[in-house]
Amino acid sequence: MRAAAPAVLIAMTIVLAFLAWRGLKAGSAGDISTELAWREADEEDLF
């Protein structure tokens, strides 16, 4: 059990690092494609 501890620790570190990297990547400014199509509103759109 004690012998396996370093391996478990390393595996957990790798998993956490991967999750952190994915999280940071998801929020970075790279992706500007959106689910919506944007157009300028005219007066009828507002009132």
């Binding site: 999280g23 940071l24 990547k25 998801a26 929020g27 970075s28 400014a29 790279g30 992706d31 500007i32 494609s33 959106t34 689910e35 919506l36 199509a37 944007w38 157009r39 300028e40 509103a41 007066e43 759109d45 507002l46 009132f47």
Partner: protein, 380 residues
């Protein structure tokens, strides 16, 4: 009309002064700030306008009162608002002067709203929270809701890019807004949600794109129910800068939460300035409002958005409020933007001044190459 601008040397005030050139009949603009050196430089830069510099110690009530007596209208660009707003509104009521502010602190807005009867007795009109957010965000929420027959929920999302142009008061506001309970409305009742929690992805128009937003302490969920009756859920979520810098600022804000020593707070603030003011000069911002509900018996949602330079947009909305105040007969009292500015003439003024509101609709097909014009320029 004589206008006094509090915090004139700040970024938001600079944008407000730039937008005030669109208001006819301005006899004099008094620029009030504690920073005398910046005031002299600003006055020299604005020599083509009827400006006069005035030294202001905003912590001193008599200094505030004295400055206010010189003008007909006070513009509050002096942040952080949790520190100054209540004191300034009391001074404006005592001096009998109308007041429009960019206040974005929920606690301060609640405090100022409670002064409504006092302002009404003194014949003073106070318009609180009149920038990009709160301000234009409130008006977009009203417009998006008006498109529906019944509104179930309103979601407000804000993106702010960090850069060297970010003002100190804005940064202090952000650090404060990242902590504590954010006001939300759930099931028709006021509630709170931990600031920084419940992340989700929100789509903004290009060049902002998809961003991870989370709860932020902002006043809109607390004030909107008075204007949009019957709405069940309202929440405000925001993204500040890139993911890494946003997380770093969140962490610094959490580390400064509660009673801390002045030295510790100064260290955190210095670190926050170092993180926030790196990189680009401009502070690109976008506000997106999604109203969900029923239209013609079927579920619908309405998405409205604006994008552009944060300070430029805030200054533009403040100038629109000044224009509204000079034209309309508002009764004395304390107002939020949705209570008084949700008017076709205000939107027409903003459009003429260069503001372009976008509607987000479900995609029918690929449509590359859009270009979005905003007060900050053209974004491809």
């Amino acid at each position: 009309m004589r206008v006094l601008i509090l915090g004139a040397a700040g970024k938001a005030a600079g944008a407000a002064i730039y937008s005030l050139r669109l208001i006819p009949g301005l006899e004099r603009i008094y620029l009030a700030d504690r920073n005398a050196e910046a005031l002299c430089k600003l006055s020299a830069d604005l020599a083509h306008l009827p400006v006069s510099p005035r030294y202001l110690d905003a912590d001193n009530e008599s200094s505030l009162y004295e400055r206010m007596k010189e003008a007909d209208l006070i513009l509050g660009c002096l942040g952080p608002f949790h520190h100054y707003e209540g004191r300034i509104v009391r001074a404006a009521i005592a001096a009998g002067r109308d007041y429009i502010s960019l206040c974005d602190d929920p606690g301060s807005i609640t405090e100022v709203m409670a002064l409504g009867p006092e302002a009404a007795r003194s014949g003073v009109r106070v318009l609180c929270g009149c920038g990009l957010t709160p301000g234009l965000s409130n008006l977009l929420a009203c417009r998006a809701s008006s498109w529906l027959d019944g509104v179930d929920s309103i979601e407000l999302n804000w993106f702010l890019e960090l850069g060297s142009n970010l003002g100190t008061a804005t940064l202090e506001h952000l650090l404060r807004s990242f902590t504590g309970k954010a006001p939300v409305r759930r099931g028709g009742r006021a509630a709170g949600a931990r600031a920084g929690s419940w992340e989700e992805i929100s789509d903004f128009p290009p060049p902002v794109g998809s961003r991870v937003v989370s709860y932020l302490c902002h006043p809109e969920p607390a004030t909107l129910p008075d204007a949009i009756v019957g709405v069940g859920d309202i929440w405000f979520k925001a993204c500040v800068g890139s993911r890494a810098r946003g997380l770093a600022l969140h962490s610094l804000a959490w580390m400064g939460e509660g009673e801390r020593t002045e030295l510790w707070q100064t260290l955190l603030r210095t670190a926050a300035i170092g993180i926030a003011r790196r990189g680009e000069r401009s502070c690109l911002a976008a506000v997106r409002v999604t109203a969900s509900g029923v239209r013609n018996g079927t579920p619908h949602r309405r998405v409205l958005c604006v994008a552009g330079d944060y300070y430029r947009l805030s200054g533009l909305v403040m100038a629109a409020a000044v224009d509204g105040l000079t034209r309309a007969e508002w009764a004395p009292g304390v107002y939020t933007p949705e209570g008084i500015l949700d008017d076709p003439e205000v939107f027409a003024w903003l459009h003429r001044a260069g503001l372009h509101i976008l509607v987000g609709e479900a995609k029918q097909g690929d449509g590359p190459g859009e270009c979005y014009f905003t007060p900050g320029g053209c974004y491809n």
